[in-house]
Symmetry: C2
Subunit: 399 residues, 2 copies
């Protein structure tokens, strides 16, 4: 009886959130969610930060600036500088998680029908945001070194994708692949952006979660050394994976002309993110608590990642293919000859869950059916080992 | 160098936020903002609520359900029931302030070019949200009893506005007029919605701020007695004006088919609002603190409103026209023969501020230039009296 807009005539919810209904089943082991480990939250540090923030209770309780509390923006700028990227205040805005930043950016930059590039496989909520904006999604394949920049160059030269407005990538510990874009590819990507005048959207929620290998500079930081490149990089980051998602504190760092328009869009979207949780985040960062606590999270994730990779190898042997990531929360695996959606149905019977790969492809029909994403962040090591045993039983039941 | 979408090629920020730059001037008295009075925040009650919420720290810190924490939804449903509107859980979702609810609703319901109706004068952020969605705005005039439903009926019968998707109204203590829609008009409006099949968007942030007169039932509550009308009402409410905006806790109550689609949109927009502030709000409501504290706010606003109306009458005599509101935060006044934008320039020189009326009109060229909005919520009674004296000086300087 209602006339919904075209993306909402037959709306489909998040394919990952669709799986949540099984989470409540007793004894379920989940490799499915993208949730950080709750037992690693720095409850004590955040309580102290909340206590300090409450000294300015009235500021926490009133409306705040649309671009974020000045105290939080100062801390974000400091954090970005420590990560190698110098930012001015006008180049930064706080958002309700980095998810909101992408939504704002698409509103100001992407008209229906515009071409947008994305690495593939890609974060499903980004694909969904593109669909809601009615963009034309053009996928660029990624491998174990991230998005394949040579293929991107050919695509751009061929003109087959028209003039794309932007390219989306998670260059460090990608979701879902766990892959990290090699430095040479980072520089080549930025050169392409300058040449072809498209915005590189660098989504970087996981970059600090490194437990092996040497850190790489973000695209935003690399852009400083490439003439004109800073004009074409919009960087998203967040406290969701390194502190706690419940703060809903993320941010955007990019060209001031783009940030300014996103701030105006946010006035209409929600006026401001909660000054209360922004103030807590600012106090937490100001106290140096992130630097103190983060090593505990990355160490634990390193142990969990190693446990998952070893257990998958032990249980599934040569049947499974994957590259062991150096950070982040995800292992991207393939079981050649298997349809991961069928495997999931059997796995749920065995009380173990993961996300079938097709959720991460723009065109489900063209998806890699044998692929699956496993998150090692939430379960403990014993659960990881037992989960891998159950994966084996589910796999063998389908042979 | 960037190709922005059409609403963002020449973006204009909120006309009210544009005035904020003057707020910092020493001695400035502001009737301009729509901010609630900071000194009336129930800091003690909210601190207690925060303490209780911290008993579930992990829930506060993790991602939450997109439609809102179950504990908060339960309290919202209880509050709505006390306000006379029975709601099921699937008919309610929490949002980042009610502002976000409107944004979500427009995304799922309004295609570019669709006609949308609004009372006029109207809340500027709503007009801006309509513009961003590229809707065709059709204004229906409001008077001291709210939107003129007989004019709406003629408009609908004439077919001049096509088939509108929705109508936006603040029926109780409107922004900017302070007017309240009479009960007969409420019922007639609902009958028109059923007949012409458009959604009535009832924005109700101020309804609880009544300091005079008898309460009226909301459109959502009235709709229960009119066959089919509940299918056509989407109700927005918020804790921003009755508890504190910094929580960013608002909600939508409407038909489940619409709410379901808004929840799916929110998955992509920001995943969830902060579970931390949602938990604080839930504890605050569960403790009955709203009912305990709210009378202090309404009593104070009643005193301030009376002070402003008396001072305007005393200073400006017959030169000023206004109706004294029975609640809310705003007095809508006219100074016949004056251009309020010019008056504002002189007023700022006298260290007093208000919002010229044209911000509240869909078409600035057709605006009532003599109108202005004065908020009595934030300044204290002495400041209100002094502000009115300065208004007189600014007025006389222009004669």
């Amino acid at each position: 009886m209602y006339e919904f807009t075209s993306p909402f005539q037959q709306p489909s919810g998040s394919p990952i959130r669709e799986l949540f209904k099984y989470l409540g089943e007793p004894g379920m082991i989940s490799f499915a969610g993208g949730y950080p480990a709750s037992d690693l939250f720095d409850v004590e540090g955040l309580s102290l930060a909340a206590e300090r923030a409450s000294a300015n209770a009235v500021q926490c309780l009133q409306y705040g600036p649309t671009d974020g509390l000045a105290t939080l923006k100062r801390e974000i700028i400091g954090l970005m500088a420590r990560r190698g990227a110098a930012c001015e205040a006008e180049e930064v805005m706080a958002t309700t998680g980095s998810q909101q930043g992408l939504d704002l950016l698409l509103r100001v930059l992407v008209e229906p029908g515009d071409a947008v590039l994305t690495e593939e496989p890609a974060y499903p909520a980004t694909l969904q945001a593109f669909r809601l904006q009615r963009a034309k999604i053009v996928a660029v394949p990624a491998d174990a070194q991230g998005i394949q920049v040579d293929k991107l160059a050919s695509l751009l030269e061929s003109g087959a994708c028209g003039k794309p407005k932007l390219l989306y990538t998670v260059p460090t510990f990608a979701n879902p692949t766990g892959a990290t874009l090699a430095t040479e590819r980072r520089r080549a990507l930025l050169a392409l952006a300058v040449k072809h005048r498209f915005v590189v959207v660098e989504d970087d929620p996981y970059g600090d979660l490194r437990f092996a290998g040497a850190p790489l500079r973000s695209l935003l930081a690399e852009a400083q050394a490439i003439d004109g490149a800073r004009d074409w990089v919009v960087h998203f980051a967040s406290l969701s994976k390194i502190v706690a998602p419940g703060l809903r504190v993320g941010w955007m760092a990019g060209p001031r002309e783009i940030v300014r328009r996103c701030v105006i869009a946010k006035q209409t979207v929600d006026l401001c993110s909660s000054p209360w949780t922004q103030a807590v985040a600012a106090e937490y960062l100001a106290a140096g608590a992130l630097e103190q606590h983060l090593p505990k999270i990355t160490a634990a994730y390193g142990v969990k990642c190693a446990a998952l990779c070893a257990a998958l190898r032990e249980q599934l042997g040569e049947a499974i293919e994957f590259a062991q990531p150096e950070g982040g929360m995800f292992v991207w695996a393939r079981l050649p000859g298997i349809d991961a959606a069928d495997l999931l149905a059997r796995a749920i019977g065995q009380k173990v869950m993961f996300v079938p790969g097709k959720a991460f492809f723009a065109d489900a029909a063209a998806a890699d059916k044998a692929a699956l994403r496993l998150s090692f962040a939430a379960p403990d090591v014993e659960a990881i080992k037992e989960g891998a045993r159950r994966m084996k039983r589910a796999y063998e039941a389908g042979l």
